[in-house]
């Protein structure tokens, strides 16, 4: 009985993980795949076979945790950084954007505000517009991943709300940023 419950838990956990990971897969393909993969992916989980003394270990520590607040989740990364006077989402941040895209598709009730920022150099108004363009660049990537328009809002703070106040490239680089802020 205990084993059965544990196994069900394991299957559920694995299914949940996969669901999250495959959220952009068309809906009709989803139900079958995770179940198959779950039993195959959990070692020693096939009932009545092999070593009867085997212990199936299940990690339930992340259960009940909001994946957004789980430090191990790719969703814990909320910032995309940009080059000077650029609004191009660099390859190293595409994983972050994709993780949020999948989460938002899987959770249509969640809404995100994308906040664009700029470093202090140059015009404040141009930087406000540049921050907006950075936020819009992230938004359009999320849209391509299937996130609904109604889930996203963009806003720019330009250079008005810097997180780093130094006058060097390291500080400026931290301020050329778009943040994903969940409501």
């Amino acid at each position: 009985m205990t084993t059965n419950r544990l196994m069900r838990l394991a299957a559920c956990a694995a299914a949940a993980l996969l669901l999250a990971a495959c959220a952009s897969t068309p809906l009709e393909e989803q139900p079958a795949a995770p179940v198959t993969d779950a039993s195959a992916g959990a070692p020693g989980s096939k009932p009545g076979t092999a070593d009867p003394r085997a212990v199936a270990s299940v990690d339930a520590t992340s259960r009940g945790l909001d994946p957004l607040t789980d430090p191990a989740s790719p969703l814990s990364k909320r910032s995309v950084y940009f080059d000077f006077d650029s609004f191009v989402v660099k390859p190293e941040f595409q994983g972050t954007v994709e993780a949020h895209g999948k989460f938002l598709v899987a959770n249509p009730g969640r809404r995100v505000t994308i906040e664009g920022n700029a470093d202090e150099r140059g015009s404040r108004e141009y930087n406000l517009a540049l921050g907006q363009k950075r936020a819009e660049a992230v938004k359009s990537r999320l849209r391509l991943l299937g996130v609904a328009e109604s889930q996203m809002e963009t806003v720019s703070f330009g250079e008005e709300k810097p997180v780093a106040t130094g006058a060097d490239e390291a500080s400026w680089a931290q301020n050329r940023r778009a943040d994903l802020n969940y409501k």
């Binding site: 140059g122 108004e125 406000l128 363009k133 720019s156 330009g158 006058a167």
Partner: protein
């Protein structure tokens, strides 16, 4: 040349040791121009406790303009009633001499008098008396500087005009200030816990438009200075920014993101009559009307990096204006419509430049690295701009020939976005 420098430093030293009450006034001359009119402003005779160093205010005004070479008047005060040795001042090199006095009257007001002489022709050019409260003493010193400027250059002085700027005093403390043209006598027109941006004067100087984040996002307001009455001009979905008054004072150009990226719109001051002016796939921002209202200059990245463009006020006939460098922003047009001022990045440094629109001659006016927000004086002879010293934003002025730069020290705090108000009737 050395003598000039010595005088400049003597003046600087004199200004740095002012009493705490006048410590707002700090002028640093970082360059010395040629073709300047040599003038000597004597120490004014003081009768009673005088709250403002009127003679020093006049000297600093004239010097900051870049049009005058200040000749040492000697330490002896010379009242407007004094018998003046023209030959003595002529031999010191001064072609003009200012003398005067300020006296505290029995009713507590002040009588400020001055006389302006031509030491070559040995004639009086101007003389006047101002009776005022202590609060107006500084303004009257600026008015005297304006009269001297006009008599000696034939052009209108700007010293009695006002400026507006934004100052950040702490992480969540922002103020919109209005101050005298030298940065002194500042008063807060708006205080907010959230950023304030892009103040813009109406042509008659009665109202300021600006961007305030007080509701959590950028919204454009119009603010009547004397009453503090405010109205929302633009509060659409997305961000609302970069207000710029049309010369008629009824409409503003603003930048909205309601249809996607930042684009330029025209809107009535009451928020009605919204009309889109630009349709580009990139950023269009920082619109500013030409003084005759026919054109709008603006910043756009439609060609790649940000450059300055011009269009008709109805949005037609867009043409690129700046071509040197890969980053030119914050256009401002001189009152006569001939010069364009902007911030250009050259070799990693952001500096104030001007472009002669007839000859396409570009001139770099500053040597600092993080300049922002150039703004023409209403007579077109000077520019005010923001720059940085020791990680703190400060205001500076530069003569339009780039030869005389002065530093205005406003309140403590991070000062930015100066904008020079119009002539006051």
């Amino acid at each position: 040349m050395h003598r000039l420098l010595a005088h400049a430093f003597a003046l600087l030293a004199a200004l740095l040791v002012l009493s705490p009450a006048t410590a707002q006034l700090r002028v640093e001359i970082t360059g010395v121009g040629s073709n300047q009119f040599p003038v000597s402003v004597a120490n004014f005779r003081r009768d009673g406790e005088i709250p403002q160093p009127v003679d020093e205010i006049i000297r600093a005004d004239l010097q900051r303009s870049g049009r005058f070479r200040m000749i040492d008047p000697g330490a002896t005060p010379l009242a407007e009633t004094a018998a003046v040795s023209f030959a003595e001042f002529k031999s010191r090199g001064a072609d003009a001499l200012v003398v005067g006095s300020v006296a505290r009257l029995a009713d507590g007001r002040y009588d400020l008098r001055f006389r302006l002489y031509d030491t070559v022709k040995q004639t009086q050019l101007d003389a006047l008396s101002y009776v005022s409260s202590a609060a107006e003493l500084r303004l009257n010193a600026h008015r005297i500087a304006d009269r001297i400027f006009e008599k000696l250059t034939g052009e209108r002085g700007v010293f009695a005009t006002r400026i507006a700027y934004v100052v950040q005093l702490a992480k969540a403390s922002f103020e919109l200030h209005i101050a005298d043209s030298d940065g002194a006598n500042q008063q807060a027109a708006l205080r907010s816990r959230e950023p304030i941006m892009s103040p813009s004067w109406s042509a008659d100087g009665s109202r300021l438009a600006y961007v305030s984040f007080e509701t959590g996002k950028p919204v454009v307001y119009a603010h009547t200075v004397t009453t503090g009455e405010r109205r929302v001009v633009a509060n659409f979905l997305g961000s609302n920014s970069a207000p710029s008054w049309a010369p008629d004072g009824k409409r503003l150009a603003v930048v909205l993101t309601r249809d996607g990226l930042s684009q330029i719109y025209l809107i009535n001051v009451d928020g009605s009559g919204l009309q889109r002016l630009t349709r580009s796939a990139g950023i269009d921002t920082e619109p500013v009307f030409s003084p005759d209202g026919r054109f709008i200059y603006f910043t756009s990245d439609r060609g790649g990096g940000p450059q300055i463009y011009r269009m008709n006020a109805d949005g037609s006939s867009v043409a690129r204006v700046t071509f040197s460098g890969d980053y030119n922003v914050s256009p401002r047009i001189s009152p006569d419509g001939r010069l364009l001022a902007y911030v250009g990045r050259r070799g990693g440094r952001f500096q104030v430049h001007t472009l002669d629109l007839a000859t396409n001659q570009e001139t770099a006016l500053t040597e600092t690295a993080l300049d922002e927000s150039p703004s023409f004086a209403p007579n077109g002879r000077m520019l005010l701009y923001a720059t940085e010293v020791g990680r703190r934003g400060i205001l500076a002025s530069v003569s339009v020939d780039g030869r005389v730069r002065a530093r205005l020290s406003g309140p403590s705090g991070d000062v930015r976005e100066p904008t020079w108000g119009p002539f006051i009737k």
